[in-house]
């Protein structure tokens, strides 16, 4: 029997898990909100920093480049969302509905998930430095789109397979051509899948570290690289580091929490089905 009754034990386990998974974030928030004096006097000492000094410092008051890193991460993540959608929606429609290329394109997409992304690290670096394109946000948009395309193709293919063919057939009889059907019938029905892909692509692009380390120097540095460098180079500015990390985490976190339903659906659809 499935336990439908409320259970104190289950609640306690769920609560502890929810707490444990958030310990690192709570620690960073704790340090970002307490004063430098409190930080200096002990790991567990609390004194509220009412001026939010650490956040002001992280946002530029202390001369760090974090505002630039922020701008870069946002532009790169949005750019990847747009490029992935523009590339994957029409192509998966052609593959699933028009039978383009048989199963090959989806097989390539799955095969790409087997090849570790690190395989592309050296080729991308050599290729983009040959073209003199290191440290450009455009390059990171291309690379992150490439990394996220496979999941997007699988999610769109799954979603398209669920749209009844009859809707399109009756539109075809009424004289709608392929593009009209895609634009006016399929696209609106694909909207939930497009939100899923947008959330996941945004999250994973924001999360990229290794390609950003290798393919940027300073102008196109992202928040992940900036935060990691911050820990090593400004070793003792603990409050500022914590505030910078908290600020780096919140944009995608809030976006994803609002779109949690689509995040869950996208991950489940891209990973587990049938």
């Amino acid at each position: 029997m499935r336990f439908r009754k409320s259970s104190g034990g289950a609640f306690a386990i769920a609560l502890s898990a929810a707490f444990l998974f958030n310990v690192p974030l709570l620690g960073a928030i704790f340090n970002s909100l307490r004063s430098d004096e409190a930080i200096a006097s002990g790991a567990l000492v609390w004194e509220f920093d009412s001026g939010f000094t650490h956040f002001q410092n992280a946002l530029g008051a202390a001369g760090y480049d974090f505002p630039l890193f922020f701008r870069n991460s946002i532009l790169i993540s949005l750019g990847a969302v747009i490029l992935v959608t523009v590339l994957a929606v029409p192509a998966s429609y052609a593959v699933v509905r028009l039978g383009f290329g048989g199963p090959w394109i989806l097989r390539i997409a799955v095969a790409l998930r087997v090849i570790p992304a690190i395989f592309f690290l050296i080729p991308f670096y050599l290729m983009f430095s040959r073209f003199g394109l290191i440290d450009s946000i455009w390059v990171l948009i291309l690379v992150d789109s490439f990394i996220n395309l496979t999941l997007a193709l699988l999610i769109f293919a799954n979603a398209l397979a669920e749209i009844p063919l009859e809707i399109e057939e009756s539109a075809a009889i009424d004289g709608a051509n392929v593009y009209q059907r895609l634009r006016h019938i399929v696209l609106p029905l694909l909207a939930p899948a497009m939100v899923s892909v947008a959330v996941l692509t945004f999250l994973f692009t924001w999360a990229d570290y290794i390609f950003a380390v290798v393919l940027t120097a300073s102008d196109a540095t992202t928040v992940t690289v900036g935060a990691a460098n911050f820990v090593t180079s400004y070793g003792i500015r603990w409050g500022d580091i914590s505030a910078a990390v908290v600020l780096s985490i919140f944009p995608p976190l809030i976006f994803a929490l609002f779109a949690q339903k689509f995040l869950v659906r996208g991950l489940a659809s891209g990973a587990v089905k049938g």
């Binding site: 958030n22 002990g42 050296i122």
Partner: protein, 290 residues
């Protein structure tokens, strides 16, 4: 599938052309560059790149550090995946019950999925820091010491951190699959007198088997490409004891400047995965059954 007409065939090409062009640029060309580099003497210190045959492959295949990194990667992937599988499943069973404030707790458990692993790693460094970290402070109240620099504790700590980052993911996939099991099935089992544990063992687990296989594959593949967290936390140290194959490739290229050897190591890594690839593709191909 829509019946194929001449128009729809042309449309299919037009709609797929941007993706094919993108794959040519970002997949085809880099593959060629990677293969070419793997058979070249390509070092940062030397301006001239020259053909070197299989020299890079011999050097990597006889490098104990490379095999050490493969061994560590497999060990890490095995331990982390097993724990994440079991604990993620148990947590999914807990959330499958009726609990107060379920929606809020569910969101809270999912938070690590929404945090970049590298930023998580930075926060781990802060919380484990001997001066400001809450964890060493709390443990020292009980007279225990926790340090990332202690060779005996670094592996369990890295596993713990990986679990915090990825149990939410295994949990989510299992929870989503559990929702597909109907109440009737549980009722039927209960009418037949099955206990909860045997219902889970004999009915739920067999139904979830395809999901479990996919979760295992995704987690192992993800673990193989693990770079961010371990690199930020330990840099592969102490020594090379926590060097994943990703860190090995990165260091070979960008610290030693030996792009040829790093490219060869990348090719060898893919070749090591190659025997399993058709099977993995079959298991992960879910959308071909229309």
């Amino acid at each position: 599938m829509i019946p194929r007409t001449r128009d729809s065939r042309i449309a299919a090409w037009i709609l797929t052309a941007p993706l094919l062009a993108f794959f040519a640029l970002m997949l085809g060309y880099p593959l060629l560059v990677g293969l070419q580099t793997s058979v070249s003497r390509n070092q940062l210190s030397e301006p001239i790149v020259s053909f070197s045959g299989l020299d890079n492959f011999f050097r990597i295949l006889t490098d104990p550090d490379f095999w050490g990194s493969i061994g560590f990667t497999l060990q890490f992937a095995f331990v982390a995946t097993s724990l994440q599988l079991v604990l993620g499943f148990l947590l999914a069973l807990v959330f499958d019950r009726k609990i107060p404030a379920k929606a809020a707790l569910f969101s809270a458990v999912l938070v690590p999925i929404m945090i970049a692993p590298s930023l998580m790693a930075v926060m781990f460094r802060l919380i484990l820091n001997e001066n400001i970290g809450a964890i060493p402070a709390v443990f020292s109240l009980f007279g225990a010491q926790v340090s990332l620099f202690d060779p005996a504790k670094v592996f369990p700590l890295l596993i713990l951190l990986d679990c915090i980052q990825f149990i939410p993911f295994t949990f989510l996939l299992f929870y989503a699959s559990l929702q597909n099991i109907s109440d009737e099935l549980y009722e039927a089992a209960s009418i037949d007198g099955a206990r909860y544990s045997s219902t889970i063992w004999r009915i739920v687990l067999p139904i979830l088997k395809p999901a479990i296989v996919v979760v295992v594959l995704l987690r192992i593949l993800e673990s193989i490409r693990n770079f961010d967290v371990i690199y930020i936390l330990t840099g592969g140290g102490p020594g090379t004891t926590t060097q994943t194959v990703g860190i090995f490739i990165y260091k070979t290229a960008f610290q030693q400047g030996d792009f040829g050897a790093a490219a060869a190591a990348s090719v060898i890594l893919v070749l090591l995965l190659a025997p399993f690839t058709p099977w993995i593709i079959k298991k992960l191909s879910t959308s071909e059954k229309q």
